[in-house]
């Protein structure tokens, strides 16, 4: 049984007084150059560079190829909790700025086999996301995909990647971490795996009420994360709480072949991933769940037919959240320069 990291606790104390927190965050965002030069943050940015380097080293060693991510397209990831997409006019067509490169990962996995992007994402998150400490409007994600990969393959890469990076940072930045008061243990995979149902049962036992068949609530995710001192996996989410590209388990209808990995110590979600739905008819029915016209996703549907059966699995890991965890920061707005936070602007 672990405990909540002091930085997370400090953040929680900050948001208790909403008004003064909003004041603080406005100043933080609008004059970010003032803190970016402080020793703590120059160290954070250097560690961030090392995290990216370590990720690339690990993935390259596992046979992944880095590909250039898309920036805009007629559609982007629709499976985002309540966040809006940014729209631009593309010569008379409406294009979206990527909220994740998910659909293009399948494309590139078909082309190259094992791929990853270090990709910028824009998500116009709802205003109340200011108070989570885990949401930025502009952020980076390392997004990878494995042709003919399975849920288990993706989870193994996630474990390996996390462990490699944590060790790398300890080796290279041991002193820096010490100065920041952050200590990381030696992580030893495999990490614990809970089904979604088991996770819900556990959080309910821990005193956080989470209904069955819905996404784990932020509050409960924190409880679950604080209960462990190594990362954990939650897999087999109920259908309906996730984007249409998550594949339904043919052996367990109503449940998905997908997973999340949570950081320990109350830092919450690290990774989301899983196997992708590849049967065009199923994809179309799932698209309808978000009330949309499948015509919008025509290129994806045509590609799925052309490359049938395009079986892939993969995941995405947020770079700022990873940095927050490694450095033990209060919130993601400490984990990048010029942070963009929901509803607050104009700012650099």
């Amino acid at each position: 049984m672990g405990k909540v990291n002091p930085a997370v606790l400090e953040f929680e104390t900050m948001v208790k007084d909403k008004e003064s927190y909003v004041k603080f965050i406005e100043e933080w965002v609008k004059h970010s150059w003032r803190w970016a030069k402080e020793n703590k943050y120059t160290t954070v940015f250097k560690i961030q560079a090392s995290i990216l380097r370590a990720i690339r080293e690990y993935l390259d060693s596992q046979g992944f190829v880095e590909a250039l991510p898309p920036i805009i397209g007629p559609v982007t990831d629709p499976g985002i909790r309540g966040a809006k997409q940014a729209t631009i006019d593309f010569y008379g067509h409406e294009y979206k700025v990527m909220s994740s490169a998910i659909l293009y990962k399948q494309y590139m996995a078909a082309v190259l086999g094992k791929v990853y992007f270090v990709s910028p994402n824009i998500r116009l998150e709802p205003n109340d996301s200011v108070f989570t400490g885990r949401h930025l409007v502009e952020f980076f994600q390392v997004d990878l995909e494995i042709l003919n990969g399975t849920l288990d393959d993706a989870m193994k890469v996630a474990e390996g990647l996390f462990t490699y990076v944590a060790k790398y940072i300890k080796d290279v930045h041991g002193k820096d971490l010490e100065k920041m008061g952050r200590s990381l243990p030696d992580y030893k995979p495999p990490f614990l795996r809970y089904t979604h149902a088991e996770a819900v049962e556990l959080v309910n036992m821990l005193g956080c009420r989470n209904p069955q068949n819905t996404e784990i609530l932020w509050e409960c995710e924190k409880v679950l994360s604080a209960y462990h001192d190594t990362p954990i996996f939650i897999y087999q989410y109920p259908k309906g709480s996730r984007g249409f590209y998550n594949r339904e388990d043919p052996g367990k209808p109503g449940y998905l072949r997908d997973f999340d990995m949570l950081y320990p110590e109350g830092f919450g979600e690290a990774i989301s991933g899983g196997e992708r739905e590849y049967e065009p008819v199923k994809v179309i029915a799932r698209i309808r769940e978000s009330g949309e016209d499948p015509n919008k996703y025509r290129w994806l549907l045509e590609m799925l037919k052309d490359f049938y059966p395009l079986k892939t699995a993969g995941f995405g890991i947020g770079v700022e959240r990873f940095t927050r965890f490694i450095c033990g920061l209060r919130a993601v707005w400490e984990a990048r320069p010029y942070p963009k936070v929901a509803g607050i602007g104009p700012a650099p």
Binding site: G82, K84, Q85, E94, P126, G240, A285, S290, G291
Partner: protein, 463 residues
């Protein structure tokens, strides 16, 4: 010569007829809808509950129960049910003990919870969309509904066709104007429910609403619902259609289906079709789950047309924790629907009420509201619907008609008159809370309806 005159007269008669046909739509509404009753209330307010024009007055008229109906209806309606007050009224005695005086109709409490929103009475302004008529009068209706404390709906396509916060078409309010006209005039009752169809989804309508700072306080307060539309009464199974000016059509040509490409046609207006939207039980289930995950602070409503499998829809909605299901019967209003659809598709409103009764008997409890729509507009309709398990009546056209004759004041008059009418009826039944009205308070003039609803047939000894 004589033949020539006859021919000319014939031609004239046909031309006259033809010119009248061009008035169809409005004329059908005036001929066929009980418009007198609504207009009287819109003009006179509470006084409009009595059948007086300007000449007749209290005690000076000679009135009685009407037995003739204009035209001959093809099917049964809620008017085939009657309300049956008792002589012995123990509840009135209870109320008297509470008030220490004889209770009167104004003592009747009409407050109800409708789909997670608090309403001053079991009446809801149906979500009306982007059509000219709905759009033109929307602000007056919004303000009146807010001030009278009843929930108000905003239908599909408003965002896409009329603009989110910037007006896209001249003379028509944007989505934001409509929603704020309601929300900023609301007091302790009411709330707004908002539709998103396939085309609005293109513009991420709900996402936009959910993260709109101006709406946030109302969302936090729990005064906002999102309404999934699975068809409507006037054209179950068909999508919306309106005529658009060509230049407006060009702006939305990638999102809608047009019979003629607005870029290529030389006509001034083009018909724009929207898709009905495809559903299966799985899709609806997934959709509600997705909405509960993405929009945890809004209520979820589901509106269905007169479909034969409506009970399955209710079941899925209930299991997934939706707050309301509305059944829109075939008499339901619309800005535009093919004649054949209105005549032939779907079942009458009263059958929707039978379905609601069945759902309640099946165990769908009041954690989920069930509403009924389709040519329902007065206090009796509300009382009968409540008696048979419906949570509220969902109406559109009466408010538009009231707004057409007297603007916002007309709509407020209509709502107040309907309130008084409902209070009168409930008190006549010897009850002082609308929630106490139950199946014992209704009986049927028709044998089949009596059987289907499990209530007494009036012309029988069981009654």
């Amino acid at each position: 010569m004589l033949e020539w005159v006859a021919l000319k007269i014939g031609e004239l008669a046909l031309r006259l007829k033809a010119s009248l046909i061009t008035l169809r739509g409005i004329r059908d509404f005036i001929d066929d809808y009980p418009i007198d009753e609504i207009l009287l209330k819109a003009i006179k307010g509470e006084e409009g509950v009595y059948p007086f024009g300007e000449l007749a007055s209290y005690g000076a008229a000679m009135l009685g129960a009407p037995i003739n109906r204009r035209g001959y209806p093809r099917f049964l309606t809620i008017d085939d049910l009657i309300l049956v007050p008792p002589a012995f009224t123990p509840r009135r005695l209870e109320k008297m003990a509470e008030l220490l005086r004889e209770p009167v109709f104004t003592d009747v409490n009409l407050e109800v919870d409708v789909g997670g929103l608090k309403s001053s009475m079991p009446l809801v302004v149906a979500s009306m969309g982007s059509t000219d008529i709905a759009s033109r009068y929307s602000i007056a209706i919004a303000k009146a509904a807010a001030k009278e404390g009843i929930p108000f709906g905003i239908g599909e396509n408003v965002h896409t066709v009329r603009g989110y916060d910037r007006r896209l078409t001249r003379g028509h309010p944007s989505f934001k104007e409509r929603v704020m006209a309601y929300l900023t005039n609301m007091d302790k009752y009411g709330g707004v429910f908002i539709q998103q169809n396939v085309e609005d989804a293109y513009d991420e309508h709900w996402n936009k609403v959910y993260s709109d700072k101006d709406l946030e306080p109302y969302i936090d307060e729990g005064r906002v619902a999102f309404e999934i539309k699975i068809g409507q009464g006037a054209k179950p199974g068909l999508g919306g259609v309106i005529k658009m000016r060509r230049e407006d059509a060009v702006k939305v040509r990638e999102k809608y289906h047009f019979l003629e490409d607005p870029l290529k046609t030389d006509r001034k207006t083009v018909e724009r079709y929207s898709a009905p939207g495809t559903y299966t039980a799985d899709i609806l289930r997934g959709m509600i789950r997705l909405m509960r995950t993405s929009y945890p602070r809004v209520k979820i409503w589901v509106k269905v047309g007169p479909f034969r499998d409506v009970l399955d829809v209710i079941k899925v909605a209930y299991e997934e924790g939706a707050n309301a299901v509305i059944i829109d019967g075939k008499e339901g209003g619309t800005g535009m629907a093919p004649s054949i659809a209105m005549k032939e598709l779907g079942y009458p409103t009263i059958v929707g009420l039978i379905k609601i009764r069945e759902a309640r008997l099946m165990g769908i409890d009041d954690r989920m509201s069930l509403m009924i729509a389709g040519r329902l507009f007065n206090g009796a309709h509300i009382a009968k619907s409540r008696a048979l398990g419906a949570s509220a009546v969902y109406a559109g056209r009466p408010f538009v008609a009231a707004a057409m004759v007297k603007g916002e004041a007309g709509v407020r008059n209509l709502i107040r008159a309907t309130k008084v009418e409902t209070q009168m009826i409930v008190s006549a039944l010897g009850k002082y809370n609308i929630r106490d009205v139950s199946q014992e308070d209704v009986a049927s003039l028709n044998k089949d309806l009596a059987t289907a609803l499990g209530i007494p047939y009036v012309y029988s000894r069981e009654f």
